[in-house]
């Protein structure tokens, strides 16, 4: 999917001849240290950033995106924010998604009336309700507390099962990657290279306090 990609900012080389293949319908977690180019990679996939060389071929698949911040329109209610990205057919699902995310009572609230976690939940609904094949997630839970983060990760997984999309999530949080990912792709410092790909076959409900997961965590920490 990504072939021989090169990207630099002024004199800093972020990626050089970087290639990555992914299958569809799975959750990929890209794990790497801060500043290794994870966000840049997602932005290039979403065409928000140009690259110097190489190619990104999504084979006609459409993309949705959960940003680090909620990026909701402050002058629109929760429901209007969601309606903005929906086709008429998808609008019917808004209430259902609000129900899943426990936001039904807030559909007519403005973003300023919501907490940080609630706003991020709205942005998750927006990303899922928008018809897409690949969902890009750029550390959307980093500013949230652990409990809320766990809850949202579970909700993301439920929604993923429902829509059967491909998720590429970037994070520097090992726990998050170990919970969410079907596969963990580990990136090095700049210029970003894949240093390992770890497939996790354990079902999500059995990942808590699992020996194999603890072993994988140890392994990742050694890098």
């Amino acid at each position: 999917m990504i072939r021989n990609l090169s990207k630099s900012f002024n004199d800093t080389i972020v990626f050089q001849d970087f290639s990555l293949d992914i299958g569809f319908g799975k959750i990929y977690c890209i794990l790497g240290p801060s500043g290794c180019g994870k966000t840049t990679l997602l932005r290039m996939i979403a065409e928000l950033e140009t690259y110097d060389k190489g190619s990104i071929d999504l084979r006609g698949k459409s993309v949705s995106y959960i940003f680090q911040e909620s990026r909701l329109l402050p002058w629109k209610t929760v429901k209007s924010n969601l309606e903005l990205v929906c086709s008429k057919k998808e609008m019917k699902k808004i209430d259902e998604y609000l129900e899943i995310m426990e936001l039904k009572d807030y559909s007519n609230s403005y973003p300023r009336e919501l907490s940080g976690g609630m706003k991020q939940r709205v942005s998750i609904i927006r990303a899922f309700i928008y018809s897409h094949d690949i969902l890009l997630m750029d550390e959307p839970f980093q500013a949230l507390d652990i409990k809320l983060k766990e809850k949202l990760l579970k909700e993301v997984y439920i929604l993923h099962k429902e829509v059967n999309n491909t998720i590429i999530s970037v994070t520097h949080d090992i726990e998050e990657a170990l919970f969410l990912g079907d596969e963990i792709i580990m990136l090095s410092q700049k210029p970003g290279e894949i240093i390992d790909r770890i497939t996790i076959d354990i079902p999500r409900e059995k990942r808590a306090n699992n020996k194999e997961i603890s072993f994988l965590k140890e392994k990742i920490l050694k890098f």
Binding site: Y65, F67, L73
Partner: protein, 252 residues
Amino acid sequence: MKDFIIRNKKITLLISIFIFIIIWQVLSMLFNPLIIPSPMETTKTLFILMYKREFWMDIIISMGRGLLGFLLAVIIGTPLGFFMGLREEIETFFHPFLVLAQTAPTVSWLILGWLWFGTGDGAAAIFIIFIIVIPFIIVNVMQGTKQLDISLMEMAKVYKLPLGKKIFHIYIPQIFPYFMAGCSIGSGLTWKGVAMAELLTARTGIGAAMGVARINLEIGQVFVWTGILVFLGHGFSKLVKHIEVTVTRKWW
């Protein structure tokens, strides 16, 4: 508490108007009525004028010219300011014209308007109002466009929002407060411009009527027309403010 403050504000305003009338009355007693007519005399002149058809016609004509000049400035200035804010090369291209409109003295435009459009139908007055107001609309809309939140534009790009949705739901709500600030300044200048332009370039309208009153030494009429211009300017500013508050409350 809020009611008390509002009531207090109204009382202060009434006291201020009352003191203004007292000072006016005292000054009219100190000077010749040809220089300062009393408030009572001015009111009498107002009532005399109100019975004349031309009085209302002059007000309607001036209002029409003021609104037309203002609307032309808004219609042309808004997209111009938007594209100047969006693309640097467009801003650079139009910059000299903007500087010219901003810095050339109004009196130069008055003379040019008079020479280009002549006197009579008020085209010169409309042109002058347009040229006075348009820089404020352009600069404010341009500023608003430059302040557009890039993160929201990226969101719109990712979700492939069509241009119409982008303009209506993302651009306009962000630019609107800046646009209204430009309109607010422009609305104040419109009525000053109307009177000044009509005085020198038109045969009808408030400014022209003030010119006739000056020649006939009808100082009371000058006072009446000044009061009407203040009323028009204040009313128009209030209307602009009302639109701003109503729409902003809906969006923000």
